[in-house]
Amino acid sequence: MKHDIHRAGASASDEVTRFDARAGSSIERLFFNNRLWVIVLCALLTAVLGWQALSLQLAASFERMLPSNHSYIENMRAYGKQLAGSGNVLRIVVATERDSIFYPEYMETLRRINDEVYLYPGVDRSFVKSIWMSAVRWVGVTEEGLEGGEVMPPGFDGSPDMMAQLRKNIERSGQIGQIVAADFKSTVIQMPLLDVDFDSGKPLDYLDMNRRLEDLRARHASEDVRIYITGFAKVSGDLMAGMQQIIGFFAVALGICTAVLFWYTRCVRSTALVVLCSVVAVVWLLGLLPLLGFELNPYSILVPFLVFAIGMSHGAQKMNGIMQDIGRGAPKLVAARLTFRRLFLAGLTALLADAVGFAVLMVIDIPVIKDLALAASLGVGVLIFTNLVLLPILLSYTGVSAAAAVRSLRAEAANDESGQAVKHPFWAFLDLFTERRYATVAVVVAALLGVAGLVVSFELKVGDLEAGAPELRPDSRYNLDNAYVVSRYAASSDVYTVMIPTPKGRCSEYATLLRVNALESQLRALPGVESTLSFVGTAKNGLVGFAEGNPKWYELSRDQASINSVAQYAPRETLDAQCSFLTIQTFLKDHKADTLLSVSAVVEAFGRKYDSEAARFLPAAGNAGIEAATNDVVRQANRQMLALVYAAVVLLCFVTFRSWRAVVCAVLPLMLTSVLCEALMVWLDIGVKVATLPVVALGVGIGVDYALYVLTVTLAGLRAGDSLSGAYYRSLLFTGKVVVLTGVTLGIAVATWAFSPIRFQADMGILLAFMFLWNMLGALILLPALGHFLLRPAPATQAAGADPLPQARAA
């Protein structure tokens, strides 16, 4: 053992003294013989892309969050015209603190708000509903039969008579619980939004919409009047507004990483360069995105941070290698080249694994995730240049501080001086896992954890698990607003719309309505369904209306003429103008995956049984319908994606190590982490959804870096004839140190997100921190333990083969 370490240290020194500038790969010669050009080129690129990055837009497009090829969404698109106003709806609740809304000032405020928001860009004006909109009508019953009119009495002047008339109209409009609260203390302005503004043809600007809404709230809210706003557009707007805080957390994380790196190196120069190169990578990425026509959405905002984090990890490895070589006495250029030579391949493989891991996210057929995957892959690709090439070249000019260089070798030096096997206690502890006893314990514990984690992970749910907008904290302004609306209005914010196309003019046939009625009652019988709305309800109420309001007539009439005569009173969202399309709007208690699954199952089974030429029953529109489709896609993609990520990682590891045994050592710890991460999600009540899906893939992608760095050096040692313990201990001193460094810094840095006001960032922070740390432990403990059982030193003859690592040369 003592001999091994002595030789390892000496071999590096030998190599430093015998360095040949003409040696090395053609890539190395290309870069290092044109160092200045590389730097100039990078500086230019940074300037150009940095300028480009300024034009990067934040956006949260509703369309791009839809799984476009899912049958539900295809159905929704096919009937988009008839469906207008069922998906992306903004609800503005204007509430009074007084006893009721029936006083002139309230009505005036409501009218002004109504007139203002009606003109906002992107509003689908023909479907706006509020008591000030003429489309909102009442139907009344008198001795003579049915009467109807606008809810807002014509010539409304706020007088007590008019106020009484309005109240009466509201009571018979069927809008109580829909756009007027049952306690008469608030009303809703309901605005469907179009993804593309009708007037300008531009995509809807959610940030601008959010600013308008907040401004509206600030101007009209008063002692008397409170304004509550819900809807996808508000969530998106709040998220985008919250991105400034994300940037704040980015800064905190960057600060922590820099501080820890400096504490480790005690070298301003090298710390600054590693951070600089990582930031350059982020700048390039942010510049490339608008160039390629991409925007940053609330999901892909995470990518720059990940790129920075990965960059720090690789940069620290390069810098550490160079520092150690300088410590051994090499000139800075030689040190840089040697490190490049030793670690470029490992770094490249790791980054390629990351890039492939992210690219695999593209199997998820949701545009925002594809954007995220592409941005992440691009960012990691950029890192190959900035942190594997530019950083060593910059370090070859600046070198590192002499004191830091000496310090970096202290662990090795200590052994050399004492002449005894005095190892650094921490590294020595990790080295124990290469011995049978500790290795067995580690493998058994890992297996137990794996089995336990697997059992728990079967509980993993897909989709959002909490009421309101799960992207935001339960106590966020938005979710408080949402809770207010849900508690006071029968129509919940989770709507699952069944589409029922029929031949033109035949939507109201009795046989068709019988089917609608049957499906509706099946849906209403589900525990997750609060209520349903369809033309059948109108038809039944219509019969009551024809019979002077006697509730005994509440039934779907067999008389086609009386059904048809009710059609004019049907809410527009339940029936189209050509009578060729019906909907059932299902209002849900929540949007948990199980609720959505139960609804989809009923609708699909009903369609299989009763679809005919006269009517088909198609899922699904409405925000809950979209979420059902998204969950479906996410559920399918989740396993498929993990399989692909692992296939890619296994392949890349095999290409690098050329040893199946080594692949097993590298990949098994990752799998354990993936399983435990899913168990953690179960424990924390986090479902697999658009926002968390990438975390699992990213965890594997970044986790493999640690294994690649540790195992590359260990395997080289083994091939050189070292014992496993010797090779592993050497790799700990060389790359393992930095694995600990980056694992800890990144873990701490992303853990700060747990304090984020945005819920999904907090979730992601916790999960990513867990994955960073656990993958680090896996690479340092489980990997050598598995190595004990799987890896053997090579016979001495083989060790003389071409090997890029220094000790191989020395052997």
């Binding site: 019988l514 049957a518 009652s521 019979a547 002077e548 006697n550 067999r558």
Partner: protein
């Protein structure tokens, strides 16, 4: 027989299917026809639109949309759903004994229960009604034929054998064998316009029927023949109650309610201060000789009378739209309506008769 086939064909045309000229009745129905579909069992049945409420002994029974019938043996705290062979809306309920009861509803359905409302069997439907010969006397020649889809709207059995059901367009059915056979007797009522008949209830030995356009009829021979009672109102009556023999309360459209202490000879108007239609009423146990009465309205008001129905006061509580009400065995009350069953406490006796005063007419 030809008549019956014709009716079946008319129905099947109405539901949009080709009419099979021959073949049994059930085959012709759309599989989702409410006459072919048993009422679906659902945990939310007590929250369905329940139109009617009554008592079978101490048991509460409520019925309404989609053939839902629910019953409670703990005064409305918990409910069970009855097995019902059809899923038409139920409009009327009556129990002749604590175990023997009848329910009527849309598509001319008559259901009977022999176990206090837990399970029901179909005795009659609109297709069979349409095939019944008219035996009630001379009906106007141009009176519309019975349409199989027309609803029955109320039912009353004076004993387990003798009962009547009334319905839309002047439909009157009678049985003398507990509903095994029925006769159609529209002509027994002087109702040439074929007004809808909404309720049938006795007062002492007399039997009253109220309905559309101020219709009030009385029979003094157990329903064999009816005479028209002069009406205090031209709008529709939705129901009636008899606090004591000879005393009548009729109520209906737009808050109109009238009390008579002499079997309908004189009426006094009841002003309870609401413009919403009264849809149901229930008698309360007599307190100090005066029976109490509850009325419920379409806009969810509950009005209480402590003076035998002469005056009412509207309770403070406002419920969703109501259509049925019944006193519970433990001194409370149960209302039914669009949002299902709702049990509530009655106001203390002291406040009787504050809200409205009976006015002589």
């Amino acid at each position: 027989m030809a008549n019956r086939l014709g009716a079946t064909c008319a129905l099947t045309i109405a539901v949009g299917l080709a009419c099979a000229a021959l073949g049994s009745f059930a085959v012709d129905l759309d599989p989702l026809d409410p006459l072919a579909q048993p009422s679906a069992q659902s945990a939310s049945a007590p929250a369905a639109f329940l139109v009617a409420a009554t008592r079978a002994g101490d048991r509460l029974v409520a019925a309404g949309e989609a053939g839902v019938i629910v019953y409670s043996d703990d005064n409305g705290r918990s409910w069970k759903q009855a097995r019902v062979p059809v899923s038409v809306s139920i409009t009327g309920l009556h129990f002749a004994t604590p175990t023997q009861g009848w329910a009527v509803g849309h598509s001319g359905v008559v259901l009977a229960s022999g176990d206090g409302g837990q399970s029901w069997t179909l005795q009659l439907d609109g297709n069979r009604i349409a095939a019944l010969p008219e035996t009630g006397g001379e009906v106007a020649a141009d009176a519309p034929p019975a349409n199989p889809g027309d609803p029955l709207l109320d039912v009353y059995f004076s004993d387990p054998l003798h009962g009547h059901a009334v319905g839309a367009f002047g439909l009157l059915l009678s049985t003398a064998d507990g509903g095994r056979t029925w006769v159609r007797r529209n002509g027994a009522l002087p109702n040439p316009e074929g007004r809808h008949l909404y309720a049938i209830r006795p007062s002492g030995d007399a039997l009253y029927v109220v309905g559309e356009s101020g219709s009030i009829f009385v029979s003094h021979d157990h329903g064999t023949s009816f005479a028209r009672v002069e009406s205090p109102y031209e709008g529709s009556f939705f129901g009636l109650a008899s606090p004591r023999p000879g005393e009548l309360l009729v109520f209906g459209l737009r808050g109109n309610a009238f009390h008579s202490a002499d079997g309908g000879a004189h009426w006094s108007r009841i002003d309870a201060g609401t413009g919403a239609s009264w849809t149901g009423a229930a008698l309360l146990a007599a307190e100090g000789g005066q029976p109490g009465v509850l009325m419920v309205s379409q806009s969810g008001e509950v009005a209480v009378s402590r003076d035998g129905g002469r005056s009412f006061s509207v309770m403070d509580q406002r419920l969703p739209s109501l259509s049925g009400v019944v006193a519970t065995a433990d001194g409370r009350a149960l209302a039914t309506g669009v949002l299902g069953v709702k049990a509530f406490d009655l106001p203390a006796h002291a406040g009787q008769g504050e809200g409205g005063q009976g006015k002589g007419s």
